[in-house]
């Protein structure tokens, strides 16, 4: 048999398997997992666009105007500088105060006239609070912060998507390729084909990898598009024409390679270990600790390579608890090309180990 023939066999196996992987009822939760960030970003985008529309309806002031306004200014002074606010609400409140006089506590209540004005400069909202005609406080909130949104996306992608969604998604998809068929008592169908076991492994891996890659890269890209959406007309176009398309491609690539790395590990685990849930838990811990492992051991972690493929470093706040900081801290980064090659080599090594497992696999439905 030629290598070409074996490749064709592997493709036939992959094609037949893909139907099963994509349409399996047990895959539904994986779709949900993959689309969760997209749903969150989409929800955020819809809310933001609603707020922007509302803010724009009240008029837009120059950003410098907001800087000019200072506490202590009178209402009229503010109106003279900034013009008519987007939202303006006045009301009178009753305020109680307490004072001591000759050792006695005296409570007093007086009426205070308050006014809240909101100005919008195209990306920020300024909330101005007046009491008795004087500006008491100025609260400026950024509605559209592209840099922050990119950081949030990077955080969600690296802390949730790579570490959890793709990890558990691959667990579901790749464990089913052999172990699931063993449970369904259908694995013999493949083992009776005139194909080398390694070809069967390659075909099944290809099916799982394709399915997982389509689902998770699509999830990553939809979430990325949802992140960009509110910024269309406010810098997103320029970003997309600059680094944006490259960033999107690198996120998608990281998702695809994450599926290859985790997929190969779970496929191998399902061939060597009867109950792969325990090794999956160990692997989750191992991946979580990749940031503080010695440099040599880091190379045996999928996350080590994936983090280096991501275009934007994930944010890590200073007030994060020490243990969580230890888990979330990224390993020393590699160049994206080296990371890609490294992960390819890592996956190939794991699949080589899986090939030894598939050669010894036996049909013994009664004990599985």
């Amino acid at each position: 048999m030629t290598a070409r023939f074996r490749l064709r066999q592997a493709l036939v196996i992959a094609r037949l398997e893909m139907k099963r992987v994509f349409l399996a009822r047990r895959s539904l939760w994986i779709y949900a997992l993959a689309m969760l960030p997209a749903v969150l970003f989409l929800g955020h985008a819809i809310q933001l666009r609603y707020e922007l529309r509302e803010a724009r309806q009240g008029g837009v002031v120059a950003p410098a105007v907001i800087e000019t306004v200072e506490t202590g200014m009178s209402e009229q002074q503010v109106l003279d500088v900034a013009g008519k606010p987007g939202q303006d609400r006045e009301r009178t409140i009753r305020r109680s105060s307490r004072r001591e006089e000759q050792g006695k506590e005296i409570f007093e209540t007086r009426e205070v006239r308050t006014r809240r004005m909101i100005y919008f400069d195209g990306s920020r909202r300024a909330y101005l609070w007046f009491e008795d005609g004087r500006l008491q406080s100025k609260d400026v909130r950024t509605l559209l912060n592209f840099a922050e949104d990119q950081e949030v996306y990077a955080g969600v992608f690296q802390y949730f998507y790579l570490r959890l969604a793709i990890f558990f998604g691959c667990l579901g998809i790749f464990l089913n390729l052999f172990r699931g068929e063993m449970m369904d008592k259908t694995l013999h169908f493949w083992l009776l084909a005139p194909a080398r076991r390694e070809v069967l492994l390659a075909g099944k891996f290809l099916a799982g990898w394709t399915a997982a890659s389509v689902v998770f890269s699509a999830g990553a890209l939809v979430a990325f598009a949802a992140m960009l959406w509110p910024h269309i007309g406010a810098g997103a176009e320029a970003y997309w024409q600059g680094a944006g398309a490259g960033h999107a491609a690198r996120y998608a690539l990281a998702a695809v390679m994450g599926c290859a790395g985790y997929g190969s590990l779970f496929l191998a685990a399902s061939l060597w270990i009867r109950n792969p849930i325990v090794p999956a838990a160990v692997l989750l811990l191992w991946e979580a600790s990749s940031g503080f492992l010695p440099e040599l051991l880091q190379k045996f972690s999928v996350l080590y390579y994936l983090q280096s493929m991501c275009p934007v470093p994930a944010p890590l706040e200073q007030d994060v608890p020490a243990l969580l900081r230890l888990i979330l801290a990224p390993a020393a980064p590699l160049s994206p090309t080296l990371a890609l090659l490294g992960l390819c080599a890592f996956s190939a090594l794991v699949l080589w180990g899986a090939a030894a497992g598939v050669r010894r696999i036996e049909i013994n439905y009664s004990t599985d």
Binding site: D184, L192, A193
Partner: protein, 310 residues
């Protein structure tokens, strides 16, 4: 090892502490061979070993010179209809057969043509477009047979292939097996319904507790077990007189007159002396209508060999 035979050399297989088969020495030539034994005897284990679904812990197996660890070559010339009832969820009967053919490297059109031919052979063309999961037990049996047959294998291994078939289909299927065996192929089937295989088999392999207790053609197997008495049913006009004469002249262990049938059931420990004596008595004028060996079916052999009912 012969490239024309299926050879087991000192093959043992254990499932943990449980014995699958033990020290199997077996050579299977072309023709129809039945592996017979009760549940748990090791029949399916033997077949799974033959087709590489499991591997022996000890010993060596060659199927026409090919190791079962080489599925790429083995399954090209072997078709195995397993006893496993489950089919892939996605598969219709037609898809099920076509999919397996595509793995042989056939083009789609050729695979489809071969699949229809195999489904027709198995009498399943009408239901070919239905999901296998919706098939009756007999239909699932037939679709597995169609899949095993579709690539025209030299070796056909069939685990309990007659289970669940209605009498008409069963007769057609048996005829198909005979036809395949007559064309020089190896047709190996297993059964625990003993009556159905002794009629159709060229040879039998009797198994119990993971071991082969006898093998060969049915008569040959019977010859192997000299220590067990042979049983004959003799129809004659004077069964009581014949019984008395046989007790005098032949090594007869037991004789029972069946009055209503005008017959005598005789148990003898030496069939050669017995048949010579019976021939002499017939020649002397005793009216003997027919003599039929009463135990040359697998069931009887099996009972002798394993000492229990099968």
């Amino acid at each position: 090892m012969s490239a024309q035979e299926i050879v087991f050399e000192n093959v043992s297989k254990f499932y943990g502490d449980v014995l699958g088969v033990n020290r199997i020495e077996l050579r299977i030539p072309p023709g129809l061979t039945s592996i017979v034994g009760p549940n748990g005897a090791g029949k399916s284990t033997l077949m799974n070993l033959m087709c590489g679904l499991i591997h022996p812990d000890r010993g060596e197996i060659r199927v026409l010179g090919i190791s079962p660890r080489d599925p790429e070559r083995l399954m090209r010339m072997t078709g195995y209809a397993t006893q496993f009832d489950a089919a892939p969820r996605w598969a219709t009967g037609f898809d099920f057969v076509v999919s397996s053919l595509l793995l042989f490297g056939y083009s789609s059109s050729l695979a489809e043509r071969l699949a229809w031919a195999a489904l027709e052979q198995a009498g399943l063309t009408d239901a070919a477009r239905r999901k296998v999961n919706s098939y009756s037990k007999g239909m699932r049996q037939r679709v597995r047979l169609a899949q095993a047959l579709a690539h025209d294998p030299q070796v056909l291994v069939l685990d309990e292939p007659l289970n669940g078939l209605d009498p008409v289909v069963r007769a057609e299927t048996i005829a198909l097996f005979r036809q395949l065996a007559a064309s020089g192929r190896h047709v190996i089937l297993s059964s625990h319904v003993l009556q159905e295989v002794d009629v159709i088999s060229d040879r039998v392999v009797l198994m119990a507790n993971g071991m082969i207790v006898a093998e060969g053609d049915i008569r040959g197997v019977r010859e192997e077990i000299h220590e067990h008495p042979s049983q004959f049913l003799i129809r004659c006009r004077q069964p009581a007189r014949l019984a008395a004469l046989l007790f005098e002249r032949a090594p007869v262990a037991e004789a029972r007159v069946i009055e209503e049938d005008g017959a005598l059931l005789v148990l003898t420990r030496d069939r050669n002396v017995f048949t010579r004596t019976l021939t002499a008595l017939a020649a002397s004028g005793l009216d003997i209508e027919s003599v039929v060996p009463a135990d040359e079916n697998v069931h009887a052999l099996y009972e002798y060999l394993v000492g229990g009912s099968a």
